[in-house]
Amino acid sequence: MAELTAGPARRRPLVVRYPSVLIFLTCLGLFTLGATILSEGFGIGVISTSFVKTLGKTLCLCLVALGMDLVWGYCGILSLGHMAFFGLGGYAIGMWLMYERTRLIVVDSLAAGGLPATPEEISSGIAAQIFGVVGASEFPPVWAVAHSLPLQLAAVVLAPGLLALVFGWLAFRSRVTGVYLSILTQAMTLALSLYLFQNDSGLRGNNGLSGLQNLPGLENTSQAIVSIWFLWGSALALGLGYVLAAWMVSGKFGSVLRGIRDDEARVRFLGYPVEAFKLFVFTVSAVLAGIAGAIYYPQAGIINPAELAPIASIYLAVWVAIGGRGRLYGAVIGAAFVSLLSSWFTGGQAPDLNILEYRIQWVDWWTVLLGLSFVAVTLFAPKGIGGLFDLLAARRNPNRHGQDLGPDHGSLREKEADA
């Protein structure tokens, strides 16, 4: 809290105040470069396109985990509905991808028909193609701007942002906190996914939007190339997101956030508009999640309401907790580590384990392991994997006077703790 009363000090550049940013960006850059060189599309073809896609998607998950860490690790709001924002971003971009790809097909096929196509014919042709699958043939109002890429890109940011703003405003205004808020956010994502499950929602119900990996106009570009583009896009987004998040949590703003996390009432008594701070962070992290979703789903190829189910958001919390909340790199490490490990275990590559008579097949037992390791992390290692870095730091720089960085005790910044 020292800085709050010390008056305006000359600010040093972000990378100096927050050295992990530089390290992180370097690692990310090297990783991307390495993946590109090893890929099929641009490099020597050691790793397959499907693995490149997995890596790209993992980077997106890291980005949404970063957003989660902002609200949970730094502001103490355990949101169990962040994948709703992620999904909304995916839906927003998916609508354009789907519309445009179908439009090209419909225009081509109508051109062969003898008469020049009328706008009505094109529109009903697209509608029949997109919604024929779910037994409808008209455009629902929600598709009003699907024809325009800029507007749908705006929706990637606006849809999750607005939802977070409205929901957050309602919730924070009436001082819903702690577990209540968690359950409420969970209800929010449940309601949204149930809504999207309905055909009447106009987003193809349970089927969702599919074929998103085929970019309109790029039919002849191989997925090996496209996957690398998306890997770069994901890496760029994650890098920018990391810098933004680091900038947010490094200054006075960050101190207030941590203050709110540790004792909301005191910060309020100090005169800070706690609700506004929370709302801001909540919305920013929702927007980050939306952007991550918009880059993720064209790589996954399909988005459907199951992606928004409460369980997905809970897994997000699991990643952040295992990685170590309250530190940005922790969230990234957690998301990458657990999701990659999870796909390794469920992919059937993990060797079976024989215990006495019983054969442990990881496909069956991985979830059990994950659940229990989660309990173990909560009980024995609240700092998660990130805690290991503390051990390193403690060895290198033992002059911490027993101060802790949190998330449980104290609201010190690294600088203060090291002093």
């Binding site: 355990l78 009328t118 577990v179 309601a191 449980d408």
Partner: protein
């Protein structure tokens, strides 16, 4: 090898010949067999559309065996020898068939079933056979009579009225007689000879809620829509329709006129396009360049030009449609007898009002039942979350454990009643143990970190779910309720509720009583309240908070286990059943107000009735009901963050 096979063939042949020999004994010339042979093709075809002559012939044959044939046939016990084509009846045991002759009931011996073709009448034909059997059964035994009356209810025929009237006078059993009289009334409505008879019968059912009554009355009100330029007259006019109303949309009205040849048709977009395509010459249609036809308006003009040239039929424009419609009056005309229709309409409108009230009552019962299920699912949570403030995301999995306990018990104890009696306390013990273990190992360390509790218990939840999957498989497991819980309590044809739901309701009440008793009347309850309000003070009074927390958590978990058995009985037992209830349960507790059992009760009632109300508003989509309910709850918590019954003062801060 081949030698062995040869022997086998020999033996089989000998056996077969032994088996087939007795067929010779069957009387192929018996009249009943002849009758069946005459209709063998349609019997073999076994289609409701063509079978009527065979059944009619049997019913009208006057042969003593006709009833046997019909009964056996209906019960899928008629077989036909593939070789001789003769019909027999028999029962299949394993791969063998014990066959009997229709003519005299003689035992024909045992045969290989594969040499015979079983005749399997479908349910449509079985209904027709049933209707034909009525004449035999009405004067038969009690079960026969009941079967006959069932058949009349399902497939009434005009002849049944006379048959029924004939036996009615001699009927002594009051219950049978009552049913017969009712059926006679219903048959009179449909088949009565004079209009007066029918009207009297109609009026005798004034205010009756039976579906069968409405089913008899509604067909009398069938109308046809007609259109005329002059206002219609006559007593058979049901009502005048306004064009553009919900009953007669503008398009439907115009289509009606077109179909009647009273108006020029309109054209669809596709037809217009095809017509234009068919008339392209030299890159233009009727002088309009093809390239310019890229809007519907341009195509309309081109089409009109074509029509002027006489190349295509003229079509009506919008304004013409309006003008034509204005010139007609649309009305509904009864197709049947008007006097009967008017009488039926009068009785029906009275019935409909009563039906509406009863439907509301039925909906209320449904809501109550759903509320009791939610309450049951949430009551354990009301203890762990409501009283102890421990967020237990594995609560749903305790419900699941209880249900699987019930399933396992049923595998061991096959008597359903006994197994349920054993399963209920056992489920409590199992989940009590699980709850205590979880409290000791995990939750105890996290009492002051609610968010971490949430996450840790969630980890336990997914682990338990997967373990259940690994043990019991992903397939849903049966948990069957005892026979005395089958069926439902029927008030009338509209209001009914299944016994299993009543049992759940009663159980919910018992739990409420149990909870109140434990919390308010026992030492344990006192200590629990003390510990939750102020653990340190309680400890200084000699209460062991650790022990109390452990017991309370176990108690809550145990109740969840019992709830699991109940929920498994009414729905299904799967590893994911807990997840279905967990969010709803939290909602119930939060809406009702944490820390108050009455709040939980109210919460369950609100959530249950709300869901039913929304379902009633939008019957075609149950999913929407759940979405709107959650939205409502989110909004509700905005305005009453502490729920319906909010604890005040110190208790609220605990």
């Amino acid at each position: 090898m081949s030698k062995l096979r040869w022997y086998f063939v020999c033996i089989t042949t000998v056996l077969l010949s032994v088996f087939t020999l007795p067929v010779m004994a069957q009387n192929a010339d018996a009249p009943i067999q002849q009758l069946l042979q005459n209709h063998r093709e349609i019997i073999a075809k076994s289609s409701r559309k063509t079978i009527a002559p065979a059944i009619d012939a049997l019913a009208a044959s006057g042969l003593a065996q006709a009833q046997t044939v019909l009964t056996r046939w209906q019960a899928k016990e008629m077989w036909r020898n593939k070789e001789t084509g003769l019909f027999v009846y028999g029962e299949k045991a394993g791969k063998e068939l014990a066959a009997f002759d229709f003519a005299d009931g003689a035992d024909l011996g045992t045969f290989l079933a594969r040499d015979f073709k079983q005749l399997k009448p479908n349910s449509g034909i079985r209904g027709m056979i049933g209707a034909a059997l009525v004449q035999f059964q009405l004067s038969g035994s009690f079960t026969d009579k009941m079967q006959a009356l069932d058949a009349i209810e399902r497939d009434a025929e005009a002849s049944h009225l006379a048959a029924l009237t004939k036996v009615l006078a001699d009927e002594t059993d009051a219950a049978v007689r009552q049913r017969m009289e009712r059926l006679q009334g219903l048959l009179t409505i449909r088949f009565g000879e004079t209009e007066e008879d029918r009207i009297v019968a109609i009026q005798s059912f004034e205010g009756d809620l039976g579906v069968d009554v409405r089913a008899a009355l509604n067909p009398l009100l069938v109308v046809t829509v007609e259109a005329a330029t002059a206002p219609p007259e006559g007593e058979d006019i049901a009502r005048i329709l306004t064009v553009g109303s919900e009953d007669l949309p503008r398009e439907a009205a115009y289509d009606h006129l077109v179909a009647a040849g009273l108006a020029t048709p309109r054209i669809s977009r596709d037809d217009k396009r095809n017509a234009l395509l068919a008339n392209i010459s030299d890159g233009s249609v009727a002088g309009v360049e093809v390239a310019t036809l890229d809007s519907e308006a341009a195509r309309d003009l081109a089409y009109a030009a074509l029509a002027d040239q006489g190349l295509v039929d003229r079509v009506a424009t919008d304004s013409e449609v309006d003008a034509t419609l204005a010139g007609f009056t649309f009305y509904e005309r009864y197709t049947g007898s008007p006097a009967v229709a008017v009488a039926a309409a009068a009785v029906l409108s009275g019935i409909e009002n009563k039906v509406a009230i009863n439907q509301a009552f039925d909906l209320g019962l449904d809501a109550l039942s759903l509320a009791s299920i939610y309450f049951l699912a949430a009551i354990g949570l009301a203890i762990t979350f409501g009283v102890m403030r421990v967020i237990n995301m594995a609560h749903g999995e305790f419900i699941m454990m209880g249900a699987y306990t019930g399933y396992v018990v049923q595998q061991i104890i096959t008597d359903y009643t006994l197994s349920i009696i054993v399963a209920l306390p056992l489920a409590f013990v199992v989940t009590f143990g699980a709850g205590v273990a979880m409290e000791r190992l995990v939750i105890r360390h996290l009492y002051h970190r609610p968010l971490e509790t949430l996450l840790a218990t969630f980890g336990i939840s997914i682990a338990l779910q997967q373990i259940a999957k690994n043990i019991f498989g992903t397939q849903a497991r049966p948990l069957t309720s005892p026979g005395w819980l089958d069926g439902s309590l029927v008030f009338n044809d509209i209001v009914s509720i299944s016994y299993i739901r009543i049992a759940i309701f009663v159980m919910a009440l018992m739990f409420l009583a149990l909870f109140l008793f434990v919390m308010n009347r026992t030492r344990l309850g006192l200590e629990v309240r003390a510990v939750t309000q102020n653990p340190r003070m309680a400890a200084s009074m000699g209460i062991n908070p650790d022990k109390i927390n452990m017991l309370t958590f176990g108690f809550g978990s145990g109740i969840a286990g019992i709830a699991g058995v109940a929920i498994g009985l009414y729905a299904k037992v799967t590893s994911e059943m807990g997840a279905d209830y967990i969010v709803q349960s939290f909602m119930t507790v939060v809406v009702g107000g944490v820390g108050s059992i009455w709040g939980t009760l109210l919460g369950a009632t609100v959530v249950g009735s709300l869901q039913k109300a929304i379902e009633w508003l939008n019957p075609s989509n149950t999913l929407a009901a759940q979405t709107y309910m959650i939205l409502f709850i989110i909004l509700f918590i905005q305005f009453r963050p502490r729920g319906i019954i909010a604890l005040k003062g110190r208790a609220a801060e605990a």
